[in-house]
């Protein structure tokens, strides 16, 4: 048993690709070893900007010998067939043996595969791993790239160390030969170092200023940055993404704290943090009061001769230049009012078939006002909602958002406050893009809700009206996110509206979608809701059970119903009622019992339940049902039968009333009252009575029970 070390050195690997590369490295190594029949135990993979390293512990010295048999053509088969079989298995004709298979003499080849040295297998595997390695982006380089068939790697591959135990695994990948030598830190230890094997790899590199384990580097950065901040009497604003990125950019990380001119703190803190983070990969710090401090922490890759003074000073200058740009934008932008800025929106195309951003703003403003005036969004001043909507996109043409697009909304909020607009309007401008996906904060301030909802609804209806719908993984206009945002806004704020009833005046001839596009939009919402609820842990079959009732486009009501159903199904009554429902359904199906439904003209639908689902027919069925119930039975029912009839008499109006009043818990309770009677009915009453009229009446009764349950949810969709 020996440990194996494989290091693939290259020019600087992008930080963002390193985690994926580690996984890919292990996957391909295991794949190759598996194919070669080498058992692999524990594997450790490390990465730095300049190398990927893999250590596999306890590899066997060789694989076991195996004997394989292959069945060939029967005796007397044409020579060509037998020769082909020999070729395929690498044997000669005299090595074949005849065996009796089902009374027929058949040629067999016995192939002895001797065990092979793991070192040889590794030498074959390494080039295969390099060749098949999937990088997000790869390139060619050097003289070999005169042919496009040359090796592709993320950046030029420059060295290979491959040692099994203490022995070199000799191989070459596109002219790069394996060896014992690797390189230490680019500047601290530029010479070659000789590795003995997996056992001394990490320590030898450490001695040469390379910490090969990315976790260890991350810990150094995390703790070093915190310490540097604490030493300055500050608190680091933690940012795990930055920790990992910096660990991917360094082999010998040294966090250093620097200061910038306090005067820059006039600029909104989010701007400073974003500049420091995205452009420079710096951490920022807060003072005791939780306010952004004029300090940054950068992560150097060297132990500088002067303790890092020159590095800090250089970084300070770069940050100062960035911040003075930001401050310039901040000052420039405030010289122009948001109202003035909105005029420039006329020059920005929203979508070639949907006009300019100014057109969109006009539509959103009208819709936001409408949502308030209709009482869908309560507690908002319609004038403020319209005003906020009109100004919400103005920051798109500011210098700051031009430079930092991710600050859209936020900057608008700052600029609105700076020019003295009300907090409600400023907040609405700031937050109207929210929620951006699951887990994001959902607005609750009424004016914000109105603008946010109007913006998203307008986007959805606009793109649906020109048939630009998401397909598969493609959703270029983020319509799924917009629909999810609408759902979250409605749900969080318990906003009641029928989506299909939302209308506002057409703007520039852009009406609401009607007909096909509108139905498409409602279905789209339904799908998003299912996805969202599923992610929130709601059983998809319960969502289906409520959706199957059809024509529900009030999402709040729909969700209340789903939640009540979920709670009910979890109770003993619920579970038993579901069982009884299934039993009743099965009997009706087996008997092909259409009862009253059968008397109604068929539409060609095979599933009788589909008729009940049909809202137009449901009323007819109900009327017929009522008529029959009133007419009574022509025989004396058995006690259990009578009890079920009575229970249905009581439960039906109760369930209907509860649904009407949207008290879905009460509707479920009404259904629960049927549980004991239906169980007793099944215990004591024979449905398939000899007398036809009894049988018909009892099947009708089951159909009635089923229909009563369907008033609350389509239980046929529920699993289990």
């Amino acid at each position: 048993m020996s440990d194996f070390l494989l290091e693939l050195r290259s020019e600087e690997i992008p930080a963002r690709m390193q985690a994926g590369a580690r996984a890919e490295f292990e996957k391909l190594f295991r794949r190759e070893m598996d194919a070669a029949g080498v058992e692999v135990g524990e594997v450790t993979v490390w990465s730095t900007p300049r190398r990927l390293a893999l250590v596999a512990q306890g590899l066997p010295e060789s694989t076991r010998a195996v004997s394989e048999e292959a069945k060939g053509p029967p005796e007397g088969a044409p020579d060509a067939a037998i020769d082909g079989f020999c070729r395929k298995n690498g044997v000669t004709r005299d090595q074949l043996e005849l065996r009796e298979i089902k009374g027929r003499a058949t040629w067999f080849a016995v192939i002895e595969k001797p065990g092979r040295a793991t070192r040889d297998l590794l030498a074959e595997a390494i080039p295969a791993i390099a060749r098949d390695f999937a990088w997000p982006k790869s390139m060619r380089w050097g003289a070999a790239s005169v042919s496009t068939g040359s090796l592709r790697w993320v950046r030029p591959l420059s060295g290979i160390v491959a040692i099994l135990g203490e022995e070199l695994v000799e191989c070459a990948v596109d002219g790069v030969r394996s060896g014992y030598a690797t390189l230490g830190h680019r500047f601290h230890c530029p010479g070659e170092i000789t590795i003995g094997g997996a056992h001394d790899y990490a320590e030898k590199l450490r001695a040469c200023h390379v910490i090969v384990d990315q976790e260890e580097r991350a810990a150094l950065i995390r703790e070093g940055a915190q310490k540097a901040a604490a030493k300055a009497g500050l608190t680091l604003v933690e940012d795990e993404g930055l920790v990992i990125e910096n660990a991917g950019l360094t082999e010998w990380p040294v966090p250093l704290l620097g200061r910038f001119d306090e005067a820059f703190l006039d600029v909104p803190p989010e701007v400073i943090q974003l500049t420091a983070r995205t452009n420079q990969k710096y951490f920022v710090c807060e003072d005791e009061g939780g306010k952004l401090a004029n300090a940054f922490v950068c992560t150097a890759n060297i132990e500088a001769a002067d303790g890092g003074a020159a590095i800090v000073d250089g970084n300070r200058k770069v940050l100062a230049a960035r911040l003075s740009d930001a401050r310039f934008f901040w000052e420039q932008d405030r010289k122009t009012s948001l109202t003035e800025q909105t005029k420039k929106l006329e020059r920005i195309t929203f979508h070639e078939r949907l006009g300019t951003v100014a057109h969109k703003v006009e539509r959103v403003a009208k819709l936001a006002r409408w949502l308030v005036e209709e009482g869908i969004v309560k507690g908002a001043n319609p004038d403020l909602a319209e005003q906020a909507a009109r100004l919400a996109k103005a920051d798109l043409v500011t210098e700051m958002v031009g430079e930092f697009p991710e600050l859209q909304g936020l900057m608008g909020g700052y600029y609105a406050r700076a020019e003295g607009l009300s907090d409600e309007v400023a907040d609405a401008i700031r937050d109207h893009y929210k929620p951006v996906g699951q887990g994001d904060q959902v607005p609750t301030a009424p004016v914000t809700v109105a603008v946010s909802l109007a913006d998203k609804l307008d986007t959805l209806r606009s793109f649906f009206s020109i048939d630009e719908k998401p397909t598969g993984s493609k959703d270029p206009f983020a319509l799924r996110r917009a629909a999810l945002g609408v759902i979250q806004l409605l749900e969080t704020n318990s906003l009641r509206c029928n989506l299909s009833a939302i209308r506002s005046e057409p703007v520039d001839g852009m009406p609401w979608p009607t007909g096909e596009p509108e139905r498409g939009l409602l279905d789209f919402f339904a799908d998003r809701l299912k996805v969202q609820q599923r992610e929130a842990g709601v059983r998809h079959d319960l969502i289906d059970a409520v959706f199957a009732l059809g024509n529900e486009d009030d999402l709040v009501r729909l969700l209340a119903r789903v939640n009540a159903l979920q709670a009910f199904i979890a109770t003993e009554d619920g579970a038993n009622l579901l069982a009884a429902y299934k039993r009743a359904s099965n009997i009706l199906k087996k008997e092909d019992w259409r009862g009253i439904e059968g008397e109604i003209a068929q539409t060609g639908e095979e599933d009788p339940l589909a008729i009940v689902d049909d809202p137009d027919l449901a009323a007819v069925v109900a009327a017929k049902m009522a008529e029959r119930h009133a007419s009574g039975l022509s025989y004396t029912p058995e006690p259990a039968e009578k009890a079920l009839i009575d229970a249905l008499h009581a439960a039906e109006p109760e369930a209907a009333r509860a649904v009407e009043q949207e008290d879905f818990a009460a509707a479920m309770a009404a259904l629960a009252s049927l549980r004991a009677p239906i169980d007793r009915f099944f215990d004591e009453v024979t449905v398939n009575a000899d007398e036809e009229k009894k049988r018909a009446a009892r099947l009708d009764l089951l159909a009635r029970f089923r229909a009563a349950v369907h008033k609350v949810a389509d239980f046929s969709r529920i699993e289990g």
Partner: protein, 299 residues
């Protein structure tokens, strides 16, 4: 006379010339046309095509009309210098050579934090892309380092390594000044501002306010037409010059703010077609000779 690259802008350039000349590069002069980046120089664009080895270094003045700030911004200019090195095929020690060139102009990598940070390069107008890094010195981008993968829509066979140093930035860093106009140009007190401040003021005004837009639109059309004329007559280098011209005129029109967002894409597509067409014609003209000399290239 000793050079002093850390005190003089021109000595820094001369030190780079000395260094890359010693590495076997041709030291070329700037291309005599207005262009947005050194990559447009035929020594880069056209020479990146085909199998012939090519090693060259040169300074290229770059014009970016929209970056003009009337001489009021300490580090944004509408006219500045790039130092370009093109090495084809890319040598195995290209990173080491580059780092050595930094030492030559006075940057000690044990005192300053040098880093290769992912930054891929793409020029839709040239139909070109490559992978590489921006090189950071203490957090400042001082060089764009690219392995060209495609040029003019063609695979680079072999791949060339391109180094683009931002000379003013680098000099500001080395000289320790915060304002580009304070750079010591010659090591004897003449500043960058003495040479270029008035130029920046006037050219910014011209770019943003004065340039006759009708004349520019006309220039664009004429350059495009001339490019096609050159292609028809199989003089691809001349065609490529017209593509450079069209590209710069487009940038001027942008600075004048007379190209709408919608039109922008269409203009860019036109420039791209001109550049690509020129590269294509250049390839077609040279390919038979290349194929004969480098049999593995045409595979």
């Amino acid at each position: 006379m000793d050079r002093n690259p850390s005190k003089s802008f021109q000595d820094m350039i001369l030190a780079l010339h000395d260094f890359w000349s010693a590495q076997g590069c041709l030291i070329l002069q700037p291309y005599d046309m207005r262009m947005g980046a050194g990559t447009f120089h035929t020594a880069t664009t056209l020479r990146a095509l085909g199998p012939e080895p090519w090693n060259a270094a040169f300074v290229q003045p770059c014009r970016r009309p929209t970056d003009g700030r009337y001489g009021e911004n300490p580090n944004r200019l509408q006219h500045y210098y790039q130092y370009q090195v093109i090495l084809k095929p890319s040598p195995a020690d290209i990173q080491d050579l580059y780092l050595e060139s930094l030492r030559v102009i006075g940057i000690d990598p044990l005192l300053h934090d040098i880093r290769f940070v992912e930054d891929d390069w793409e020029s839709p107008t040239l139909g070109a892309w490559g992978l590489g890094w921006e090189v950071w010195c203490d957090g400042m981008e001082v060089t764009q380092f690219t392995y060209f993968q495609q040029m003019g829509g063609f695979d680079c066979k072999p791949v060339a390594g391109e180094l683009t140093y931002g000379l003013e930035r680098l000099a500001m860093y080395i000289q320790g000044v915060d304002n580009v106009y304070d750079l010591n140009f010659n090591g004897r007190g003449v500043t960058y501002g003495d040479v270029f401040l008035e130029n920046e003021k006037q050219m910014s005004k011209w770019n943003f306010e004065v340039a006759d837009t009708d004349a520019l639109f006309d220039l664009f059309r004429k350059a495009a037409a001339e490019c096609r004329n050159c292609l028809d007559n199989n003089v691809p280098i001349a065609a490529y010059e017209q593509a450079i011209e069209a590209s710069h005129v487009f940038n001027l029109l942008q600075a004048r703010g007379v190209i709408s967002v919608q039109e922008r894409a269409s203009y860019m597509a036109q420039v791209r077609d001109l550049a690509r067409g020129s590269c294509e014609a250049y390839m077609a003209k040279e390919a038979p000779r290349w194929a004969e000399k480098y049999p593995e290239w045409s595979k």
